[in-house]
Amino acid sequence: MRVQILYSFFILMVALAGHFISNAYYLQVLTFIGINTLLALGLNMLMGYAGQISLGHAAFYGIGAYATAILTVHFSWSPWLALPVAIAAAVMVAYIVGVPTLKLSGYYLGMGTLGFGMIINIIFREWSSVTGGASGFVGIPALSLGPVSFSSRQNYLYLVWGCVLLCIVLCRRIIDSRVGRALRAIHDGEKAAAAVGVDTQKLKLQVFVLSAGMSALAGFLYAHLVCFISPETFSFIMSIRMVTMVVIGGMASIWGSLLGASLLTLLPEWLHAFSEFEMVVYGLILMIVMIFLPKGLTRGILDIVERSRRSL
């Protein structure tokens, strides 16, 4: 029951936002929050629940975006047909890369995924006959479904947040299932998990593939929202930003991903006012949040609330 209330609340919020906000800038920022939430959610499954770090996840985001761009522009496919192919492409790459990479652990896993992310980014840049190279890929069509055009920011907002809701539901079901329990076992101790009969390698790979698929979905949505993509968007910096969203929001927390993505999307928008000081303030905020709320915003806020209630 509780979950249903929560979901209804979520849908209501999105609907209200879409209905009452007419300024396309705010709608666009909200849409970007949605896309970033998808990214954070996918990575959180990997980092928070399976305990595996990835410093190259922007590669899957990019694969999703470039796959749909190439298919819709060079091959004139319908975007809706390109979507499953884009996700499948990311999933396949994740599988191939995941088999050897996920055998690494700790910082070495970070290094392995980082190297992979760099290679993919260089491919985006150098394969210019297909990807448009460093100047970027122009002319990606806007989405439309029958009579509904998603070129309106309102409709796009609903589309993106619809996807977010679907992914949240999916993730929650996985977490509450047998697989989720096995994942948490891996997080707490991989060898112990293996000892009680969890096929750790297979599970890690499955989660890696799942998170790659979600990142690709986000990439698809990004490409058709902005109608332009270039390699910088999917660089190493983006991978780090994704990890930051997960950790700031709170590891192993679905709503934490939402919170982390919101904060990291909104922060640069607020900090415009600081102009030259923007970087300094941004860095300080990251540091301060982590110093005082090392478990992330979700846990941190809950702790503060609980403490204040106890003291009342």
Binding site: P100, L114, V243, V280, K295
Partner: protein, 291 residues
Amino acid sequence: MQEILQYFFSGITNGAIYAVIAIGFSMLYNSTDLINFAHGEFVMLGALTMVTFSGPFHLPLLPAFIATVCCISIAGLLFERLAIRTVRFPEPIVLIIITVGASIFLRGIGMLAWGKDAYSIPPFSTHPPLDIAGAKLLAQSLWILLIVLLMVACLHFFFKKTLTGKAMEACAIDKRAAWIVGIPSKLMVMLAFGLSTGLGALSGVIISPITMCSYDMGTMLGLKGFCAAMLGGLGSLWGSLIGGFLLGILEALGVGFVSSGLKDATAFFLLLFILYARPGGIISALNVKRF
């Protein structure tokens, strides 16, 4: 033949740069079990501070050098005291994000203090490039090479032979156990930070006659240095050295025999294979903990 030798020299030059940064990463990991993603920014700060000391302050090379390293070491101590020690639950991932935040913060400081332009530092000596069988090696590259080797030798001596060094390593292996036997672990961590940021500043000073320096130089250098450290085996000083040179030479050969656009990709591709074959780096010194 001359070309191959020149590629090799190019690799040595870049490799020495990567190695000197990798050593900073490794040294800190060796004594605190932590990766400082802001290390590249300390390299940047070192280079730019040197610009100020040798430019507007008109200090000669050596005093400017020493003043720079001291200043950045103090900045490193402050960073440890203010940002690292105050964390309540120092899990690796939390500390990583803090250092990422610090890197952005320091980059911002660098931009405000020195502006957005690039600067160059004159080389240490004005010898003409060394000519070996038609291939040229810059005198500054030799300086870097020399200092790197000296650095590793000194650090090796420090960690293996001096009490402080051994105590520092003990803190990394088990902080609590080190505390029980009477090692002031907090002091050790602080010292390690000062030392590693000082090393970063030193690297910044010695490489910028070749690379030029600007407020945004740190990210790429930090990244390459991190790769070199990982490749060699985290926590192993000699490993960092080997990792750095391997990365530099692989890149140069990638330019020579594959394509310059794909040089980073070639290097990273081979790195991944090395990691798959030896999941602990070439020299795996310490057990690497998981997140």
